[in-house]
Symmetry: C2
Subunit: 368 residues, 2 copies
């Protein structure tokens, strides 16, 4: 059927039905009440990440985000994604976006604790919330508003954009049977986890990702944490470490974030702003799902193909780490009002959601 012919028939078909008339009419209607006017203005933005280029899940996720935004905007917004060091060094991403040198970054707020200690509470804390719980605090419990307030001081807008889920505690060349076994342990563990290790009598060593393998192999360190089975497998730690401990008490559900220069974001029309916001939600959901799916596959591989000795920390070890974690956090908030405010909100929400978990998620895990 030729186009003209069936357009005519379509309009005849439409006569019989007010439903059709309504939906056809809307195509021509001048709906002036719409929220935004689409302009043809094009944007080419840069997204600097703290990950190696195309890093599994996180780098890949940023590439996907760029595709989603491009498609949703009908090609009006193109985002070029850069691995850490390609445009700016990974840990200068915050500065680069804050200054407006580039428009977007992807990383984790606790990398920027040096700028403001409060920022680390927006990623994860030792013995803190898991992925589902921290999302709930962010989206529906006041967390994101606090994060926006704290990032606004640096001219940034944050969006939750990925979560590793509960990590592993790490790879060890010494058995950890009691809290005392951390004494003298040299471990690669950054952030608050590192401070907890120090309280337990160990030495927290900082190594860039690229140096960890060699340091562990040569005995410069006795242990290292990394992420979970998927990423750890790719690092090859199973070739040089004896024990793989769980759970990742220090990072139980770290949120990764997309951070956008506030002036650049505010300068966008509402449609593009909402496209970026919604794409970040999608990345958050997708990355969490991808970590779960891939970790499960690689854990089996590590156990069944590589014969890895996977162990659980004893209750004694966990109780000791928890006590030291509490002390570390109290020291952080004692010296910083912004931290105290964020921590108060987080703890109130934690207490309540954990009460509910006793009847829902936690109970269910123990019921099947």
């Amino acid at each position: 059927m030729k186009r003209k012919e069936f357009l005519k028939k379509a309009s005849i078909a439409a006569v019989g039905s007010s439903l059709l008339v309504q939906s056809c009419k809307s195509e021509d209607a001048d709906s002036s009440t719409g929220p935004a006017i689409i302009t043809n203005k094009k944007y080419k933005w840069k997204l600097v990440t703290t990950w190696p280029p195309n890093f599994p899940v996180l780098g890949e996720g940023c590439n996907m985000l760029a595709e989603w935004v491009k498609t949703m905007s009908g090609g009006r917004m193109e985002i070029n994604v850069y691995g850490g060091g390609e445009l700016v060094p990974a840990l200068e991403s915050f500065e680069a976006v804050s200054s407006g040198a580039v428009e977007m970054g992807h990383g984790a707020a606790y990398y920027w604790a040096g700028k403001s200690p409060a920022l680390q509470f927006f990623t994860t804390i030792p013995f803190g919330l898991n992925a589902q719980q921290i999302d709930s605090w962010m989206y529906c419990g006041g967390g994101l508003e606090l994060w926006e307030e704290n990032y606004a001081r640096f001219g940034l807008v944050p969006f939750p954009a990925g979560n590793t889920g509960v990590q592993m505690a790490g790879w060890f060349n010494k058995e950890i049977n009691s809290i005392d076994d951390f004494k003298g342990l040299k471990m690669r563990i950054p952030g608050l986890g590192g401070k907890v290790l120090k309280k337990a009598g160990g030495t927290a060593v900082l190594s860039a990702g690229s140096e960890i393998y060699t340091n562990l192999e040569r005995g410069v360190i006795d242990a290292t944490e990394w992420i979970g089975p998927y990423h750890d497998y790719k690092m090859g730690f199973h070739n040089i470490a004896k024990y793989y401990y769980a759970p990742g008490w220090h990072e139980p559900g770290p949120i990764l974030d997309l951070f956008v220069n506030k002036r650049a974001f505010d300068g966008l029309a509402p449609d593009l702003q909402e496209i970026i916001r919604t794409a970040a939600y999608r990345l958050n959901a997708w990355a969490t799902s991808e970590f779960e799916a891939k970790n499960n596959f690689y854990l089996s591989k590590l156990i069944n193909e590589e014969g890895v000795d996977v162990r659980r920390f004893s209750d004694d070890v966990l109780a000791g780490l928890k006590q030291y974690s509490q002390e570390v956090i109290e020291e952080v908030i004692a010296g910083d009002e912004a931290s105290a405010k964020v921590y108060e909100s987080l703890m109130k929400f934690s207490k309540e959601i954990r009460n509910w978990s006793e009847y829902s998620e936690k109970l269910y895990y123990n019921s099947i």
Copy 2:
């Protein structure tokens, strides 16, 4: 428009709808490859839900989805959201969208088990996956592809769009101390859960949401399940039931879905398709978070203000229910090839992710 009138017109519209879609498509014909070219074409779509209008979380979430889509599309796509019964009866939503009478619906795939038993596996099954796990199966474990395949037979495209999280087992006026206590129990519990109850010697009663309270009050039923503390509180069940049991073994992480008429969806330019897809991801993440946050608040209210006796099923009760659930599911898949295929994928993924949970989520819940 009155319902009867609408249905009559809708069926007329359905006849002409392929013409409409074709004519829409031809106007888009020049947007060939690459990112879409934004046209000023406007759409007014209808979204029929299976919930009462503005139903907490789920109805509210559909309203939000409509706003997100409107904003992201710069006003080019408006979605009018209808509560169950406003345009079509709640449980006729599937038919209405399948036929093209309306473009979108929001509900749960297990409502349509009568159309094809396989569909119920896309929502939840007794002793199945929780929210985080089923999302992972959907997005990264092959679940969504199977769902698309199964919905395509009905001219529909599915999108995960919300999750209640682990529900509660329900409200009971009889104590349940052993699996034998289900004998003779009259309970409002639909779907596979109802079949499990029957195997345990009880009677599964079907009641519309609006009738449950009166039935429980008058002793027509001895027990009812509903959702979780937030929605249950609003129903007022604590005023007429003695015991509130956990966990919701029958619905541990039900996915709600946005289902879209396939011809209508295929007729959209890629930018609007991606906008709808991404908005559904956002709704999925937001609704799960909102359930977690609100359930936790209302559980405290039920316990502390209403003095509700919240109980946990014993291991014996859960073991019995699990055994019957297995029998029920085996009966479903024995008679239906499509069900067997979906169930196989789900079970393979379940086994693997549960192994990982032993070192991650489950272990962490038990470590704090």
